[in-house]
């Protein structure tokens, strides 16, 4: 079995993982396989934006707290407040409580309690050769109250994606679990990957295709890469929900697009994304080397769903203060600081 050339660091990580892993194989007692039903009950179906131009209006997610925190892939499906359908068929409107663009991770919250959920372990014990189950709403097959689809396979490799930049259209730069099953179909993003004990080890990523070979990648983001962000969002330390209690300032005291030196694309939609159209010279934006076509994702840690949100958020920031912005440029997610 051979991998692509190893990044030395990846190899080190892999080795340490191997050392850490408990190998039930060695014992006489065989490992207990997960009950598919048990896993399915923790996976949810998410319905949101899309439904045109081959963009599916659904994806997958899984519960990470008994109070209804749902981890999922951050995608266009979440451009509207998504509907979450639980395994038991119950439907909930959800709120996006946090996103981590560089991980393509979003956390939704539904108003429920006592739900079955996945514990996000500190230790990450998965390695290549391990059997896994992938549970997702691929192709939106599981209509109504039907449980999510279950697939089986093994981890074919644990490696980094960014060996060749631009090969895969994703801002994610960490290690991934390469899977030997065709798991990453439309709608599968956000699905749960569990090991033979039913422990959560990863989240299915969005569809990725090797731009050179045209091969579709089957992969998952390892849960240890998501753990910190998940924990921070669930605990409220890193929520991207607008901070409503910041007061709106007077227009001549608050920031606005001009004080930052940003011109956005024409606001023609009900919810136009905050794409930069032009950067004014000698402005904080020019200083921070912002460019046209940059997309503003977060402003001081708060999610910028559309241009109106951005303008509203700026009204609550004193124009003498620096502003931190997370933006997407092509496949990169960049944090920048705009200093007035």
């Amino acid at each position: 079995m051979r991998y692509r050339p190893f990044h030395p660091f990846a190899l080190a990580v892999l080795l340490s993982l191997v050392c850490l892993s408990i190998l039930p194989v060695a014992s006489a007692q065989p490992p207990v396989a997960p009950d598919a039903r048990d896993v399915q009950q923790r996976v949810v179906k998410i319905y949101g934006a899309g439904g045109i131009k081959g963009l599916e209006a659904y994806q997958s997610g899984f519960l990470v707290s008994p109070e209804g925190h749902v981890a999922t892939a951050w995608s266009y499906v979440l451009d509207v407040e998504p509907i979450v359908v639980l395994d038991d068929g119950r439907r909930f409107e959800s709120k996006i409580v946090g996103i981590e663009p560089s991980l393509e991770l979003a956390v939704l919250k539904i108003d429920a309690s006592d739900l079955p959920y996945f514990k996000v372990d500190k230790e990450f014990n998965a390695q290549w050769g391990d059997p896994i189950l992938a549970v997702s709403n691929l192709f939106g097959i599981a209509a109504g109250n039907e449980p999510a689809s279950v697939m089986q396979g093994i981890i074919a490799g644990v490696t980094n994606l960014d060996a060749r930049r631009g090969t895969f259209q994703t801002p994610y730069r960490g290690k991934v679990l390469i899977l030997d099953l065709i798991a990453n179909n439309p709608g599968a993003a956000g699905g749960a990957v569990v090991d033979a004990d039913g422990r959560l080890i990863g989240m299915l990523g969005k569809e990725l295709r090797d731009s050179g070979t045209g091969v579709w990648l089957n992969y998952a983001l390892p849960i240890d890469a998501l753990r910190t962000a998940l924990g921070d969002i669930i605990a409220g330390r890193a929520t991207t929900v607008p901070k409503e209690n910041n007061p709106v300032l007077r227009r001549d005291q608050s920031h606005n697009l001009t004080t930052l030196g940003v011109v956005l694309v024409p606001n023609v939609l009900e919810s136009t994304p905050a794409y930069i159209d032009a950067v004014l010279p000698d402005s904080p934006a020019a200083e921070a080397k912002l460019r046209p076509d940059d997309l503003i994702l977060l402003l001081d840690g708060q999610r910028v769903g559309d241009q109106q949100t951005l303008i509203d958020l700026l009204r609550r920031i004193d124009r003498r203060d620096a502003v931190s912005v997370t933006l997407q440029r092509g496949n990169e997610v960049l944090p920048v600081r705009l200093q007035p």
Binding site: L14, V18, I182
Partner: protein, 634 residues
């Protein structure tokens, strides 16, 4: 938190553990050499000793090999003669009956060639078609000891169970050795919306075992090698017509419902309730609309009634209702439990056809691929791509009609010899007739029916008469204290119950009797029976074998023979094992209850007759005498 459940599914999850283990081990030696530290960290030290397999692993692997060996002989590779494509199938009886997909047989028409893993090729003929469910029955010829599959109960299948698919993907089985792919059930009870206008997959199985074009019609087995379903469809999208980890199979329980219908040689339709339902936000499934002409309405189902069970299966959502109903053939009568205004009713309900017959045939014709190209004539390529528009639910199966490169390879077989010649012995088993896939098989069932009817009471009591003679029946008995006399002869029908007497001389009068739920509705049932005995199905008028269906919502499934009698439709329902007629139904107006003549027996003799409309008994007669005369009683 530990959400591990120490309750492995029988034979499924335990296997997962073991096979996982196998995967780990089998990967071991190679990286033991290449990447020593990995192996050293992960496993017992590697030396030159042969690898010892854990006994559990060994037994699991042996069980898997045994299951494959058990299953493989019943898998069929279907080839359309002349290179017109093909697919897969599975044998279900020692006399060669096999199931496959409608869309596999459709390019072949009535004759195909089938390979088994024994390396032999057998001629096969089409038996019956279910175009809505995408099922076809074929019969392999030449043996009466074919290996055949054991059927599982697909309702017991669960997501996560191991399963395998054996078949002819990409028509690779040119050496007749089928391909085995292994995986798990990804979902059960899936409902797939109709693709195009006709196909509907209800209550189907979803698997991640590789399913590719050519696997269509083939078997999916459980890890014991028992038949779970018939593979039929894949989710194909932008990644091309190859496996993307999602394949669907028609559940074998649905196929079981249709076996009798398919054996009839007919083109069969699916059933509908005549009502629409919605999932109530507060839980349960309620009727949102209902046809007043439906039997369901006559049985008391109303708008806003909550449907609880259909055929013994609990339903809680609209999806459930679709799933259960979609597995029934038209004309079945199944028990339905519903709650309306606080009252729970459990009652047998007759299901309606989804299509009118003409409509079904027209839709089926439009779903057919173009006929194989005829040499010396320009090829017509325009029609084969019909189903390609469906983005996520395209038919799998025959690939060749869609591949012009393969078409070109087809050699002309000589002037005018475009159609593959059908061997004479096979041609004798093919009878074309409108509305039938192969009328020959209906004739076989008709012969079986009339043979059985003539050998049972009352026909077996009387000496055989020449056909030209007029026969008449006179039946006497009692209902309560009242005397009953029933007599039927050609154009002479009479009933006397106590002081009430009714006579008729025309079948149209009998029609009215049934239509008005009169006790005289017993007469057409008796007379049709008498006429069938006298004339046989060929001279009776239009008569055909319908298939098997529950009687009054109860199993076992009864054989059903249908004959048109005047303007009425008469159905004989006979026990599948004894062949004894248990009920004769006479349908006058489709929008009203048919007359049901229930035959009560003591041993093989008839002790009583009971006439029912809907669920009400109109007349109950205990029989004291049943005589046959050679002319009508005066």
């Amino acid at each position: 938190m530990n959400h591990r459940v120490n309750r492995p599914l029988p034979g499924s999850t335990a296997m997962l553990a073991v096979v996982c283990f196998a995967l780990f081990c089998s990967g071991h030696p190679s990286h033991g050499q290449d990447e020593g530290p990995l192996a050293a960290a992960g496993q017992a030290p590697i030396d030159n000793a042969p690898i010892e397999l854990d006994p559990l692993l060994r037994s699991a692997e042996q069980a898997r090999v045994a299951a494959v060996d058990r299953a493989r002989p019943s898998a069929v590779s279907v080839f359309v003669p002349g290179g017109g494509g093909g697919g897969s199938g599975v044998l279900i009886s020692p006399d060669g009956y096999a199931l496959t997909n409608f869309h596999v047989t459709s390019p072949a028409g009535t004759f195909m060639r089938c390979g088994l893993s024994d390396g032999r090729v057998y001629d096969a003929v089409l038996v019956g078609l279910d175009p809505v469910g995408d099922l076809a029955m074929i019969r392999l010829l030449g043996r009466d000891d074919f290996p055949y599959a054991t059927m599982a109960n697909s309702l017991q299948a669960r997501a996560g169970d191991w399963c395998m698919v054996i078949g002819n993907p990409f028509l690779l089985a040119t050496n007749l050795q089928p391909t085995v792919t292994w995986g798990i059930l990804s979902g059960v009870g899936r409902y797939q919306y109709p693709s195009g206008t006709l196909l509907e997959y209800a209550d189907c199985l979803q698997t991640d075992a590789s399913i590719n074009p050519g696997n269509s019609g083939g078997p999916i087995y459980n890890d014991q090698g028992a038949l779970l379903g018939i593979v039929g469809r894949c989710s194909f999208e932008k990644r091309g017509r190859v496996n993307v980890g999602v394949g669907y199979a028609i559940s074998i329980n649905q196929a079981k419902n249709f076996l009798g219908y398919l054996r009839s040689g007919r083109i069969v339709d699916h059933a509908t309730l005549g009502a629409t339902v919605t999932t109530d936000p507060d839980g349960g499934v309620v009727v949102s609309n209902i046809l007043e002409s439906s039997d369901a309405y006559r049985r008391g189902l109303r708008y806003n009634a909550q449907i609880l069970e259909i055929d013994g299966r609990v339903v809680t959502t609209a999806n459930d209702v679709q799933n259960v109903l979609g597995t029934f053939p038209s004309g079945w009568r199944v028990n339905i439990a519903f709650r309306h205004q606080g009252i729970t009713t459990r009652v047998p309900v007759r299901l309606m056809s989804v299509h009118r017959q003409d409509e079904l045939l027209a839709k089926m014709a439009s779903a057919l691929p173009p006929p194989p190209p005829v040499p010396d004539q320009p090829e017509d390529e325009g029609e084969g791509e019909k189903n390609d528009g469906d983005q996520d639910a395209e038919q799998g199966g025959e690939e060749e009609p869609k591949r012009p490169d393969l078409k070109r390879q087809r050699r002309p077989t000589g002037h005018g010899g475009a159609k593959p010649s059908i061997p004479e012995a096979v041609a004798d088993l093919i009878v074309q007739r409108r509305g039938f896939a192969n009328y020959h098989f209906n004739q076989v069932e008709q012969a079986r029916f009339i043979g059985s009817l003539r050998s049972q009471f009352p026909a077996n009591q009387f000496a055989e008469t020449e056909e030209s003679k007029t026969t008449a029946w006179t039946i006497t008995g009692k209902t309560g204290d009242a005397q009953v006399k029933l007599s039927v002869a050609d154009d002479q029908y009479a009933i006397l119950v106590g002081e009430t007497a009714m006579r008729a001389t025309r079948r149209s009068e009998l029609f009215d009797a049934v239509d008005t739920d009169s006790i005289a509705g017993i007469l057409p049932a008796l007379d049709a029976w008498r006429t069938m005995l006298k004339l046989g199905p060929e001279k009776f008028g239009e008569a055909y074998y319908q298939g098997t269906m529950p009687l009054g919502g109860q199993r076992p499934l009864r054989d059903c023979m249908v004959g048109l009698y005047g303007e009425m439709e008469v159905r004989w329902l006979s026990h599948p094992e004894t062949g004894l007629v248990e009920c004769i139904e006479v349908v006058a107006d489709r929008d009203s209850d048919p007359a049901e003549l229930w035959v009560l027996r003591e041993g093989d003799d008839i002790s009583g007759l009971e006439l029912r409309y809907g669920t009400d008994v109109a007349l109950n007669v205990s029989i004291s005498d049943w005589t046959q005369t050679e002319s009508a009683p005066q």
